[in-house]
Symmetry: C2
Amino acid sequence: MTQDNYMDKEQKLNNLRHSLAHLLASAVLEMFPKAQLGVGPVIENGFFYDFLLPRSLTPEDIKVLEKRMRALAQSKLAFERIEMSTIEAKEFFKGQNQPFKIQLIEDMEKFGTTKADEILNAEPRGTGLQPRNHAESVDKVSLYKTGKFIDLCRGGHVENTSQIKSDAFKLDKVSGAYWRGDQANPQMQRIYGLAFETKGELVEYLKLQEELAKRDHRVVGPRLGLFLFNDMSPGIPFYQPKGMVVRNELEAFVREVSYGPGYSEVKLPQLFDSELWKTSGHWEHYKDDMFVLEVEEKQFALKPMNCPGHMLLYKQGLYSYRDLPLRMAEMSTLFRNELTGVLSGLTRVRGFAQDDCHIFLAPEQIADEVADLLKRITKIYKIFGMEIEDVYLSTRPEKSLGTQEEWQMAEMALAEALRKAKWEFEINQGDGAFYGPKIDMSIKDVLGRKWQLATVQLDFQMPKRFSLDYVAKDGARKTPVVIHRALIGSFERFMGILIEHYAGALPLWLSPVQVAILPISRKQNAYAKKVLKELRMQNEEFRIELDDRDESIGKKIREASMQKIPYQLILGDKEVKAKKVAVRTREGKDSGAMALKKFVEKIQTEIEKKK
Amino acid sequence: MTQDNYMDKEQKLNNLRHSLAHLLASAVLEMFPKAQLGVGPVIENGFFYDFLLPRSLTPEDIKVLEKRMRALAQSKLAFERIEMSTIEAKEFFKGQNQPFKIQLIEDMEKFGTTKADEILNAEPRGTGLQPRNHAESVDKVSLYKTGKFIDLCRGGHVENTSQIKSDAFKLDKVSGAYWRGDQANPQMQRIYGLAFETKGELVEYLKLQEELAKRDHRVVGPRLGLFLFNDMSPGIPFYQPKGMVVRNELEAFVREVSYGPGYSEVKLPQLFDSELWKTSGHWEHYKDDMFVLEVEEKQFALKPMNCPGHMLLYKQGLYSYRDLPLRMAEMSTLFRNELTGVLSGLTRVRGFAQDDCHIFLAPEQIADEVADLLKRITKIYKIFGMEIEDVYLSTRPEKSLGTQEEWQMAEMALAEALRKAKWEFEINQGDGAFYGPKIDMSIKDVLGRKWQLATVQLDFQMPKRFSLDYVAKDGARKTPVVIHRALIGSFERFMGILIEHYAGALPLWLSPVQVAILPISRKQNAYAKKVLKELRMQNEEFRIELDDRDESIGKKIREASMQKIPYQLILGDKEVKAKKVAVRTREGKDSGAMALKKFVEKIQTEIEKKK
């Protein structure tokens, strides 16, 4: 789908949702003629409308309203635009006893059209609607009429309610909301609705929500003993022992696949003098997002990114063209001063680490290096069963650093790399950062959600800010280009996504406990211990748990499955006698009795292949 | 050696050194009759004396003075104590034209005897001399006479200079020093002397100093490309790629030997709300050593130790006696706000990590657990060829937390553990921390220097402060005891010590580059590449460098040896023809031509055995 088609579809959906908000208000006014109306904007996946009502809404009310909305939709009402002067409009809403609408018109008179969209939508986040560029004084407003209902409205509607599919929308929930988000104002009731073009999309969305709730890493992570949060350090995870196993496995994975031969790991301080941040430009542009502290009358800050430190380390060496590409990798924890209000699970944190690397190289090396990175990205996400989509090459924006020649060369190199790696891509003209072109991509998880995870970003600026150089073949001092790259991105965010992607059932190689040994009764405990010892002898890195409690085998299996332990070895008299183990998966699949040696081979292969 | 004997020896040595300071002053006065004398205290390894002289001292002067001191010593002079009232003494020094001595007496009159020692010694650090407990007004002072020379002096001398061995002391160096360390005062010349009981000790000391200068990790570390420091983050090392290899190997070593089965690694935030530090007591007692910052109007601090976080994590779980001992290990970087003035290399830093672990356990488990720890310590330091000495069990001090019963039980458990591990030890009565008894030990390196590295410390207090508990066998809630333990201590400090211990020549398993492939000329480059490929195929974890520059083999060998690369494979025509490699060590030992397979076996074994 091209960008343009995407915008068309988005606008169409917005019109649909906005129209439904009118139908909802109309239905509410029929039920409560004295209802006072607030705002009713489009939001992600639907719409809402705020009402001041004589009483609290019941679930029964919602059903009635939904039914009435369907009836209204089916009566094929047109949306009719009416223009009025603001004076006439205020008079009209006074007659309707709608004081909030009058306030909105007054706001528009005061702040002009720039604010008008914001005012009418009240909650612009997630709507995809942008305020206009220039403020114009407002003396006219538009209203829209559907059936008997007339609402103050900027417009964007379906022509006729017959375009709304009755089975593609649904009232979702009711919550409280203060008029204009201010506790000093009256509390209104906000009715949320979901709306899509087709029933299929609605059903799919509802299923996804249900699935997401079950998979939510903020719930699943602590339940599996992976991590937890505590108010003593908001937004920084406490890796529990099992979570630390996963983290260590991921770090080993990064060292193997994201880094590897040719990559050099370093570990730099996490605390730097503000002088460094001034050189890098972070002090000017990023200071509010940094944790700042005073040390011996100087300002220091915890590092929010590795790059400035890496520039400093490069600067202390002396490099020639033969040393390039020089790949400086670091997995230290970074800190960003996010407001507690926006913190969320592992996806929005104050402390996180990345599979970060800065590659210092000569311009002529860009194509090969980036092609190598793209191949690594392909390899990594294939292992996790995720797909790469929406690949864009973003080119030189209007305001940018560097010469036309540098940009052209770099853009061509990125395009060449994309072709070398056999990636399909589109050009995003002028959407590069001011300091260099970049490649953007989405990673699609099993739920179809798209994530920005991998970063491949060229940078002409930072090496210049730090006056870095290398001795070129001809003996001249040249400035290297830098590639900022992270392939899985933040360990924390990636772990959160993995938990949801796998619904907690991490692949064998990542599982904190890989095998649970479950003797059926006390009688098999001795054999169970022998099996444990034998497994450990075969490979001391196997992560095995023996459950020899005096509990029923049913309970043991249930708990091991709840803990998402990939393999359970059920040991009864039969197994003891046959000197075998009965293998069961966490999904409940029985592979029957097996010689221990065969089982070891089986899991060894799976671990190696990262299945 | 017992503590008492140690004190005797120390006092004897101090008397010797102090007497030599008098001989030096006497010799200086003979050379410069108008010399004005400052202070002349005992310091570590010797003494110094400050003089205001008519001209700068030359190396020739020092030789003359040293010779004169030997002559004085050999003339068997007695030290004779003379007591005078401060008035008489001031009069005496006025006659001698010694204004600094008069100032010293005035100070003693003013500040009393508490200050007297400090005043006379001027630099109390490292002397082992303690100021007296109570101030007494001073109206009398003592002077000591040797030959013709009389000095204001608290005493502590040899009876007769014949007790000084002429070949066991040496004038060391001259430096500038302001009277009383104040730049506003006259600049004096400070002559340093080294002095020991025997010639052997002096020679040994000089050899050690020479060796230490060569091994200084602050010089060797950056030269080997292991780490460096930068003013943008004083006191926190920048691990360069090679240093990071060593660090990662040490972390793997810790996971294997210092932790291992039964240990659970965690990773907690490095930033905590001050509320946590208030609960732990650090806010009250340790705040000045912490990096403090404000976040959303609350005080936070970077963690200087892991314990409070671990207490918090324990508290969020629910544990029974069956879960104990619970071993919570963490290697996160810790931060201490040391003054820039005291920072030094890797030994005094602002950022460091430990092989830290907190063991939560029932009192009856202490003996077995501690015995296990002592065995691990033995194992670890044997690997590094270091010795464990001066083992003390420190018992309950006067002021302490916990009951007499708890202390007795814990002390007995520690003693039992020491016996189980077959460690010889002495009791340090009353020298435990107020929160629990502990085991102290020194680790002796190859230079005979002793280090405090391993910590095994019981703690009754912290679990109580955090109200931790576990369900005992009888169902009652009990408070666990905590063992704070680190076996190698700080990674940074340990790496610094290792560099000096091995003089940079780290053992094979720790070496950043293990094998250098050195073709004699361009002709052997193709074969060298084949050898490299073959070695990588044999074990992709071998760390190998190929030096195929157009440089002489002599230069290549020299540089590889300077870089302390354990093995060099020299490849000439002979080796190409025989399909072998000529193996040379960094010490210059040739093992002759060898089949590559044999070499692989050899280094594989050495790496595994951590030789």
